[in-house]
């Protein structure tokens, strides 16, 4: 396509504006992206301050509450009395490719967010803060293939290693452990509140080297539809 020379300067100005936007005002890009994302709740994240709103997904909340009730019934006596500071945050944007699973949250260093803190959705652990910016922070979710964390499984608190990914699983569970489908999995990793529910065991199998038991998980929410989270600061 051949443009007239008079159109060239318009394109040049747009190029400069876009380059400036990428480096100095990326939040405008996130807003456009929200408009282009079907069912994202246009405008909510851009106008709301942290803590203003929670997604009213009652079904997911109900399932999460059931998971919470289960875990509190089973491990309550062993839980240390912790009262982490909770900071609600909106999801600005998501990692756009399929190599990682990350969420950009609208709370950063100016809200006191620090690297490694737990990120919750309706009471369940969904990730941890991987990178903190001045006004935003990047959360690595449990569906990221790089996410690993010590966890405990079931009422007998069997140790296991949570391995993230599109289909997260628990590895390194002792062969003698009586882990069964339906067992609650909860966090036991350093730097985050102990006992946060992560998910439920859906099935178990023996590892390839026949040394351990492995467990696949189910979750009472869809990570792709999470719009608001809670950052649990302090353990």
């Amino acid at each position: 396509m051949t443009y007239r020379r008079s159109h060239r300067w318009i394109l040049g100005v747009l190029l400069v504006l876009l380059a400036g936007g990428i480096f100095f005002a990326p939040s405008y890009g996130w807003r456009i992206r929200q408009w282009l994302t079907p069912g994202s709740g246009v405008g909510e994240a851009s106008s709301a301050a942290p803590g203003d709103a929670l997604a009213p997904n009652l079904e997911a909340q109900n399932e999460a509450l059931e998971a919470q009730v289960a875990i509190y019934q089973t491990v309550e006596e062993q839980l240390p009395q912790a009262s982490p500071r909770m900071l609600r945050a909106m999801v600005y944007s998501r990692y756009p490719l399929n190599f990682k699973n990350e969420l950009l949250l609208d709370a950063g260093a100016d809200h006191g967010v620090t690297t490694g803190t737990a990120v919750l959705f309706q009471g369940m652990l969904i990730g941890r803060i991987a990178q903190v910016f001045a006004h935003e922070s990047l959360a690595e979710t449990i569906f990221d293939s790089g996410f690993t964390m010590p966890v405990r499984v079931g009422t007998s608190s069997y140790d296991g290693l949570f391995e993230g990914g599109s289909y997260p699983k628990i590895g390194s569970i002792a062969r003698t452990a009586g882990v069964a489908a339906g067992s609650i999995v909860y966090a036991a990793g350093p730097g985050m509140p102990y006992g946060l529910p992560v998910g439920q065991v859906s099935a178990t199998s023996t590892s390839a080297d026949s040394l351990f038991t492995e467990a696949t998980l189910v979750f009472p929410y869809d990570i792709n539809k999470v719009q608001t989270v809670v950052i649990a600061q302090g353990s």
Binding site: M1, L14, L15, R33, T37, L97, E136, N224
Partner: protein, 145 residues
């Protein structure tokens, strides 16, 4: 001018499709496919405009990531391939979509290619279809103009 506006509409459609499929857990780089098709049809300034617009919207964090830099480099490489390749543009654009995606995966997450090759195949298939449609429509428009 009409072709430029049509390309903008295709880019917007690519964003909607990419983000919509992502909410379903399926990742196809429609935006990348559109950019490669544009690289074989427009001049460098137009390609740079589309590329910066894509990065502005697709960037998910305040800082530029290595992924997006590779994304940009592959798109510029597609333009250079168009300039110096002797292949038919439609064939070269489709070949470059496959080559570009492979380069992107290899540079960003080589383990992913082995661990989840099926996702790569779905990505390539989706991109070839979308890139082919974008190239076909815009190329036909160019002949009309």
């Amino acid at each position: 001018m009409m072709r430029f506006i049509l390309a903008l509409l295709f880019l917007a459609l690519a964003f909607v499709l990419q983000f919509w499929f992502a909410t379903l857990g399926v990742f196809v780089n429609f935006v990348f496919a559109a950019l490669v098709a544009f690289a074989f049809l427009f001049d460098i300034w137009d390609v740079l405009f589309f590329l910066l617009a894509a990065i502005f919207i697709i960037n998910w964090q305040p800082a530029l990531s290595p992924e997006l830099l590779i994304f940009a480099a592959v798109t510029v490489a597609a333009y250079l391939a168009h300039r110096y390749s002797k292949w038919e543009p439609w064939a070269a654009s489709l070949a470059f979509i496959v080559l570009g995606l492979f380069t992107l995966y290899l540079a960003v997450a080589p383990r992913f290619l082995v661990a989840d090759f099926g996702s790569f195949v779905i990505d390539v298939a989706g991109c070839l279809m979308f890139g082919g449609i974008v190239f076909g429509v815009l190329n036909r428009r160019a002949h009309r103009d």
